[in-house]
C-alpha cells in the first residue's frame, strides 16, 4: 500500500514536470526544460544516399541552412548515414558536442528509424530523442526535375524535424510478457505447415479453419506440377500430422469472431459453428464414454436431404449430414443446418452407443490467449462468368480449371474419367484459355498475374495426353510463365508430348447449339491470322482472388490490404511475412498468388517469424502512450468514449474526477489527444507542443 502511494506520487511528479515542460515550451524563448534539463542542442546529419538524394538537390545548401536553425549545435553530412561510419558520426557527435537531440535527414522513418535510434542510443542518448526528416522517399525521389523546389522542401523538412527534436523527451519502451501460444487462421497447406512448424518448435498452436476439414485448395487438386505428384498423396500425411500433433489444437468449422489486445497478448474469441455432431472428446465431456462420431457414415446413408457438394464444386451430391471426402481430418461428420429438416433419422442410425448427433447444438464461443497470429486465409476462384465472352455458366462444356481438377481426379465425381458435362462423352479436342480474368485491364478481371495457371494448364495438357489416347490439348496463351525450379523443363516436355500452343488472347467463345461443341475465336499473333477452332471442351484457367472471409478477418487483426485485396506485407521484399500490426504474420496466398512450393516456404517463414517473440518471452512496446495531465483534466470523459481500446477511464483522485490511462491497453493512436477540449492529454512522442512546434517551424520559420 505504501509502495503504491509512493508510485502514485512519483507519477504525479513526472506529470507535473511534463506540464512545466509543456508551458516552458510554449514560451518563445529557446526551449529550456524544467529544472535539470539543459538547453536543446540538436545535431543534424544529412545523408547523400549516393545520388539518390544528393543528385536531386543541393545538399550543401541544405547543410548551410541547417546550421542557422535555432537549437542546432552541430551539422554534418555523409554519403550513407545508415552505414557503420555514418552511424559512428552520430555516436561521436553526441559525445563531442553534448547533443540532446538528433535529426537525420535521409530516407523514411519507416525504413531507418530503428537504425538511427540504435545509433542515438549507442551515443548515450535516449533513443527516442531521434527524429527523421524524410528527404528521399517524399522529396528527392518525387521531385527529380525540380532541384530548387526539392532543396527548399528539404530545408523546411530539416527545420520541422529540428523543432520536434528540440522538444523530444526520454521515453522508455515497456516490456510485456508474450503468451506462449500462437494462432493460425486457415488450414490450407500454408496454415497447416505454419501450425506444424510452430507446434514442433514447442509452441501451443490453435489452428482455426472455417470449413469442416483441413486441407484447403490443395486437397481439391489432382496432380501437382512439375513433378506430377498426386496432390492428396503428399498432402494427407501432413493432414494426419496436424490431427495428431500434440501442440496443435485444431478447431474446424470455426471462425475468428473478435480480436483484442496486442503482440504477446491477443485475446481471440473463436466462434465454433454448430456442427451437430460430437467428437469422441466432446461426447466424453458429456459423460458418453466411448461415444462420439467415428466417421462410420451410417447417418449419411439414411439422410434424406440431397445437396451439391461444395468440395466437388457442385458436381457430386452430398447429404445434409456430410463429410467432404473420405480423407477428411478430423473425420467427423457435419450437419448443414441450413438444409437439415431435423427428421431425426440420423440420430436413430447413429445408435444409442455413439449418440454422436445433437440436432439442437448451438454456436459456441471460445476465448483463447495467444502471443502471435498467422493469417493463412487463401484464395477463391474469380467468378469467371463475369467475363461473358467465354460463356462460363451459359455453355455446358465451358468449365474452370478447378472443375477440371475434380473431373480428372480419381477420387472425383467421375472417378477420374474426364467427360463433357453436356453429354458425358470423352472430349478429344480440349482448349485451355490461359490468363482467364488475369492480366486483365478491362476492369472486369484482375490486373495481376495469378502465377500458377500457366503451370497447371501445362499439367492439364499432360494429363489429357496421358489419359485420353488421341486427344489434343490446345493452349491459348499470352506468355507462358514457367519461372520455377524445373518449370521451364516441364514446359518443353509438354511441347514434346504434342500439346499445341497458340499465342493469342481468346476474344470469344461460341457454342454449336446441336453438338454443344465450342468455337474458340482468337488471333494467332505469331502467325498473324484469325483462328476459329472447334473443340469439345473449354477449360478456363480462371484468375484467383482473396477468399470470401479475408476482408472480415484482416480487419479483426488490423491488417491492411493492397488495392486488389491481397493482404499487405510489412515490406514486399525484406519483410514479406510480417504486417504492420506487430505480432500478426501472413502465410501463403492471402498475401498474393503463390504456387505450392512458394506457399509452403512462406508458411515456414511466417512460422519462424511468429515464433521469435514467443521464444524471446517478452517484447517491447513503443512507448507512445497517452498520459493525463491531471491539473488540466476537467473529468468530462469525452476521451473515454473515443478510445477504441477502452484504455481510458475516469477515476476519483484528491476529490476530483480525472481520466486515467491503462497503459497496457493504450496503443498510442492519439484519438483522445486530438479531441481533449482542455488539452489535458499528453501523447508521448506526438505531444501537442511538439506538433505545434512543427507547424510553427514550417510556417513561421522556426523563430516562433
Amino acid at each position: 500500500m505504501v509502495e503504491k502511494k509512493k508510485a502514485t506520487t512519483k507519477k504525479t511528479d513526472t506529470k507535473k514536470q511534463e506540464v512545466k515542460k509543456e508551458t516552458s515550451k510554449q514560451v518563445p524563448a529557446p526551449a529550456v526544460g524544467s529544472t535539470t534539463k539543459q538547453e536543446a542542442r540538436v545535431g543534424v546529419f544529412l545523408c547523400h544516399c549516393g545520388t539518390n538524394i544528393a543528385g536531386s538537390m543541393d545538399l550543401m545548401a541544405v547543410q548551410e541552412y541547417a546550421s542557422t536553425i535555432p537549437n542546432v549545435a552541430y551539422v554534418d553530412n555523409y554519403q550513407y548515414m545508415c552505414s557503420t561510419p555514418g552511424q559512428g558520426k552520430i555516436e561521436k557527435a553526441i559525445k563531442d558536442h553534448k547533443l540532446t537531440g538528433i535529426v537525420v535527414a535521409a530516407c523514411t522513418p519507416r525504413l531507418h528509424e530503428p537504425t538511427f535510434r540504435t545509433a542515438t542510443k549507442e551515443g548515450g542518448l535516449n533513443p527516442f530523442r531521434f527524429e527523421m526528416a524524410n528527404i528521399r522517399d517524399q522529396n528527392s525521389w518525387v521531385h527529380m526535375h525540380d532541384r530548387e523546389g526539392s532543396t527548399e522542401k528539404a530545408k523546411d523538412a530539416v527545420r520541422i524535424a529540428v523543432a520536434k527534436a528540440a522538444l523530444l523527451q526520454d521515453l522508455y519502451p515497456k516490456s510485456v510478457p508474450v503468451e506462449k501460444a500462437a494462432m493460425v487462421v486457415g488450414a490450407g497447406v500454408a496454415g497447416m505447415q505454419a501450425a506444424l512448424d510452430l507446434a514442433y518448435a514447442g509452441i501451443k498452436t490453435y489452428l482455426i479453419e472455417s470449413s469442416p476439414t483441413i486441407g484447403g485448395r490443395m486437397s481439391q487438386l489432382d496432380k501437382t506440377f512439375p513433378t506430377l505428384d498426386c496432390s492428396q498423396c503428399i498432402l494427407t500425411p501432413k493432414m494426419v500430422d496436424v490431427g495428431r500433433a500434440e501442440n496443435i489444437e485444431l478447431m474446424t468449422y470455426s471462425e475468428v469472431d473478435s480480436v483484442e489486445g496486442y503482440i504477446g497478448n491477443f485475446d481471440v474469441t473463436i466462434r465454433k459453428k454448430a456442427r451437430g455432431v460430437l467428437t469422441p472428446k466432446e461426447a466424453e465431456a458429456r459423460g458418453l464414454v466411448g461415444g462420439g462420431c467415428n466417421g462410420c457414415g451410417d447417418c449419411d446413408a439414411v439422410c434424406p436431404v440431397v445437396k451439391p457438394n461444395v468440395f466437388e464444386i457442385g458436381m457430386k451430391p452430398r447429404k445434409a449430414i456430410y463429410i467432404y471426402h473420405p480423407q477428411v481430418v478430423p473425420l467427423i461428420y457435419t450437419i448443414d443446418f441450413d438444409s437439415c429438416i431435423k427428421c431425426g433419422l440420423c440420430v436413430t442410425a447413429c445408435g444409442p452407443e455413439k449418440r454422436a448427433i445433437d440436432l439442437e447444438s448451438k454456436d459456441e464461443f471460445i476465448k483463447v490467449k495467444v502471443g502471435t497470429a498467422i493469417l493463412a486465409t487463401g484464395y477463391d476462384i474469380f467468378p469467371i462468368e463475369k467475363k461473358e465472352e467465354w460463356g462460363y455458366k451459359r455453355y455446358e462444356n465451358v468449365i474452370t480449371s478447378l472443375e477440371f481438377e475434380r473431373l480428372i481426379c480419381a477420387s472425383g465425381p467421375t472417378g477420374g474419367h474426364l467427360v463433357r458435362p453436356s453429354d458425358g462423352q470423352t472430349p478429344k479436342r480440349v482448349a485451355f484459355v490461359l490468363c482467364a480474368g488475369s492480366r486483365d485491364n478491362t476492369g472486369i478481371g484482375k490486373p495481376y498475374c495469378s502465377r500458377f495457371c500457366c503451370m497447371y494448364s501445362l499439367k492439364h495438357a499432360h494429363q489429357i495426353i496421358e489419359k485420353i489416347p488421341g486427344a489434343i490439348p490446345y493452349l491459348f496463351y499470352m506468355d507462358i510463365r514457367s519461372f520455377g525450379k524445373m518449370y521451364e523443363e516441364f514446359y518443353y516436355r509438354i511441347q514434346d508430348e504434342g500439346a499445341k500452343f497458340i499465342r493469342g488472347r481468346v476474344a470469344n467463345i461460341l457454342e454449336d447449339k446441336e453438338t454443344k461443341n465450342l468455337h474458340v475465336m482468337t488471333d494467332d499473333t505469331l502467325l498473324d491470322r484469325p483462328i476459329d477452332m472447334e473443340v469439345d471442351l473449354v477449360v478456363l484457367a480462371s484468375a484467383i482472388q482473396p477468399s470470401d472471409d479475408t476482408n472480415r478477418t484482416r480487419k479483426l487483426f488490423g491488417v491492411s490490404c493492397s488495392m486488389d485485396g491481397w493482404l499487405l506485407e510489412a515490406h514486399p521484399k525484406l519483410n514479406p511475412c510480417g504486417t504492420t500490426t506487430a505480432g500478426v504474420f501472413l502465410a501463403g496466398v492471402c498475401q498474393g498468388p503463390k504456387d505450392i512450393p512458394d506457399t509452403v516456404a512462406s508458411a515456414e517463414g511466417a512460422a519462424s517469424a511468429a515464433s521469435i517473440p514467443i521464444h524471446m518471452g517478452q517484447v517491447e512496446l513503443e512507448p507512445y502512450f497517452a498520459t493525463c495531465i491531471e491539473e488540466k483534466c476537467a473529468g468530462c470523459g469525452m476521451c473515454v468514449n473515443l478510445c477504441p481500446y477502452s484504455a481510458l477511464s475516469l477515476v476519483e483522485k484528491d476529490g476530483r474526477t480525472v481520466m486515467q490511462v491503462t497503459e497496457a491497453k493504450c496503443k498510442g493512436c492519439g484519438t483522445c489527444g486530438g479531441f481533449c477540449p482542455g488539452g489535458a492529454i499528453w501523447m508521448n512522442h506526438f505531444a501537442t507542443p511538439q506538433i505545434v512546434a512543427q507547424i510553427d517551424a514550417f510556417l513561421l520559420g522556426g523563430e516562433q
Binding site: T108, P109, R110, L111, N134, R136, D137, Q138, N139, W141, V142, H143, M144, H145, D146, E148, G149, S150, E152, K153, D156, A157, I160, K555, G558, S560, C561, S562, M563, L568, T580, T581, Y624, L642, P644, Y645, K667, G668, C669, G670, T671, G673, G674, F675, M683, F686, T688, I691, V692, Q694, I695, D696, F698, L699, L700
Partner: protein, 152 residues
C-alpha cells in the same frame, strides 16, 4: 482530379509566390503511401510539407486552424480508408472533426477548398501523387491565403 505529372515546375525566387501547404498524415496508410510514391518515382509538385502523426485521430482541429492562422495557404489531412484504420476507427473520428473545421472555415469566409481530408492507403502511391498534385493545383488557383494578406 489532376493526373499525376499534371503540373508545371514553376519559376522560383524572389517575387514569385509559392504556396505554403501543410500535410498532416498518418503513419500507417498515407505516410506509407507517400513513401511508396517515392519508391515508384511518381513525380508531384514539392509545395507541401509533411508532419507525421501515428493516426489522423491525433489531429486536433486546432492544429489545422493554427496552420491557417500561421499563414498556411492550404492544409491536407490524409489517413487510412474507412474501415482500414490501424487503430480501428481513428479516421472516422478525425473525419468528423475535419468536417467541423470545413464548416467553420465556410462561416468565417475562408474558402474551404483550402482544406482537404483524403484517404490514401499504404498501397496507393500513385494516388498520393494525384492527391498532392491536385491539392497544389487548387491552392495555386486560389492564390495566397486571405489571412496572410490581412496580416500585411
Amino acid at each position: 482530379m489532376s493526373a499525376p505529372g499534371d503540373f508545371k515546375i514553376p519559376e522560383r525566387g524572389p517575387g514569385f509566390w509559392q504556396p505554403k501547404i501543410l500535410g498532416i498524415i498518418c503513419n500507417w496508410c498515407s505516410y506509407a503511401g507517400a513513401d511508396l510514391a517515392g519508391g515508384g518515382r511518381i513525380q508531384y509538385p514539392p509545395d507541401i510539407r509533411i508532419v507525421r502523426v501515428m493516426c489522423t485521430g491525433r489531429i486536433d482541429a486546432l492544429f489545422v486552424l493554427k496552420a491557417f492562422a500561421d499563414g498556411a495557404d492550404g492544409v491536407l489531412v490524409s489517413g487510412c480508408h474507412f474501415g482500414d484504420c490501424h487503430y480501428l476507427e481513428g479516421n472516422y473520428k478525425a473525419a468528423k472533426r475535419m468536417f467541423m473545421v470545413k464548416r467553420l472555415m465556410k462561416s468565417i469566409g475562408l474558402d474551404d477548398r483550402r482544406f482537404r481530408m483524403t484517404f490514401v492507403s499504404a498501397s496507393e502511391g500513385a494516388k498520393w501523387g494525384k492527391v498532392v498534385t491536385d491539392v497544389v493545383n487548387v491552392i495555386n488557383e486560389l492564390g495566397p491565403s486571405p489571412i496572410t494578406e490581412f496580416k500585411k
